[in-house]
Amino acid sequence: MKEAFPRSVECEEKLDLCAERMVLNWGPSHPATHGTLRVILTLEGETIVKCDTEIGYLHRGLEKLAEDWTYNQIVNISDRLNYCSVFINNVGWHQACEKLFGIQVPPRATYLRTIMSEVARIADHMVCIGPNCVDIGVLTPFWYTWNLREMAYDLLEFVTGARMTTAFTRVGGLAADAPEGLEERITKVFLPEVYRVMDELDSLLSKNRIFNDRTRGVGALSKEEAVSYGWTGPCLRACGVAYDVRAANPYLAYGDVDFDIPVGGHGDTYDRLFVRVEECRQSARIIEQALSKLPDGPVNADDKRVVLPRKDDVYGHIEGLIHHFEIVMFGPKAPVGAQCYDSVEGANGELGFTIVSNGTNKPYRMHVRSPCFYVFSALPRLVVGRLLADLPAVVASLNIIAGELDL
């Protein structure tokens, strides 16, 4: 057949398209970049040859802002770090503050903080799994996980008043006690739904041939590398390292409850997702146990310098009025020169706060150790050599929350 476009010998050589590398920009506005990330890929055909990332599109200067806000106001900053599991960030911040101040929180507050942290953890894992499935192409689990997330929101709203940005902890305890009916709502409505949705996700995804092909062996990292990269949380546990801050250094009520730490075998996308599914089941177990052991009592420490006094003290005694005035106007003051680091098990890993205090009501330096940051730093290592289509699956399974990544 006579060719429509006669080719010279030179053209024949240039037609080998795979030899030409293409630079592709992925993000920062892209459906599969969760939040604003930018990945600059060098592709040879469909294979990723080089990968460079650029972050900072949501850098809001939170650490600088924290130097101007009081310890109780900074909880609002912590809200916006990992905005999918907000209560855990609140707890993390105020736990670090309490360590700085040297205050013990009463048991009822620790149990309530534990329960609401686990509810937030379940909500965060749902945000990871739902959109991850959408990115791979399966839209159905998104609706189911989002429904469960709406139920978690209902619970959070019932207790704290806000769906997402709760800001419910204070130095010394909680802003208010949990309302009546919490136990019933959790045990009768929320927990059965958690178990049901996890079973549904298992049945939908775990044996699905396409899902398995897209996720098994994709983006795998070995144990030693993961630890060297500073990975923590479900991503590290999927690689086979059973490091969970709740078990290694029990805080709140985690020392009093029984739970398992799910660990994956291969460190690939499949493991990361199903470690999260299993963790939701363990979170439900923790909530059940903590609810049954929930003690009575105050939710704030008995420390006049940091905790607002009762109203009859405020209106009845001059010391109460003075303390109220000082705490509301200026906020609690930390000891001079105190420095502290405390970490909690965030939904993505070890969320740590370093605080340096200069004796005033505002910290001198506040630093957030964000788990997503270290997880994302390993992205080039995970995707180089793989196909372009593996990139959204891997990025989504790492659960990158830009608020936490970019501080």
């Binding site: 506005s29 939040g35 599109y57 949501l58 809001r60 600088k64 802002l65 989002w146 769906r163």
Partner: protein
Amino acid sequence: MRDKPPGDPSGRVTLADLNEAAEMVRELKKPGAAAKFVNWSRKHSLWPIPFGTACCAIEFMGMVGSSLDLSRFGAEFVRFSPRQCDLMIVAGTITNKMAPVLRTIYEQMAEPKWVISMGACACTGGMFNTYSVLQGCDRIIPVDYYVPGCAPRPEAVMYAILKLQERIGNETGVLGSKERHREAWIRGVKGRGRTPKDRLLRGGGE
């Protein structure tokens, strides 16, 4: 078309048909009729592009999810391509680094286009009055509706979309965004905004 009378199986065009057609043309020729039809179809097929950067994007996803279901109002599926959308919902903090990206995406959208600024950060910079945050996306793009809140409830954003639909339906002409935002454009041209790149070079200010 009205049904043919039973006694006329051939389907020939009669004088009554012509009268009816002339009536319809007179209706359409009335000022505003075509606009009404165009605006009606525009408002019921607003396809959003969620320019979601931060926490508000999660609440936006809550609106798209099955409890509130935005698609029953015509916003069938959120497409992230600006070429396929007409409603941009700026959900989340816009930083100085992200501002040129936002402007580029806005300009890549075809007319007609509307913008809803969702959340305190998009409206005014929110609680982040810092060196790296753009104090309101309306510094670089014209906004039709502002939804306050941090994060606003999905019902609040739904209300804004419904209000926007009402407003589009009540427009008396087929308007593009330039006519709607005439004043804001004039202000911009008069020098209130310097380019985002200048801001970045100078280290965070406008």
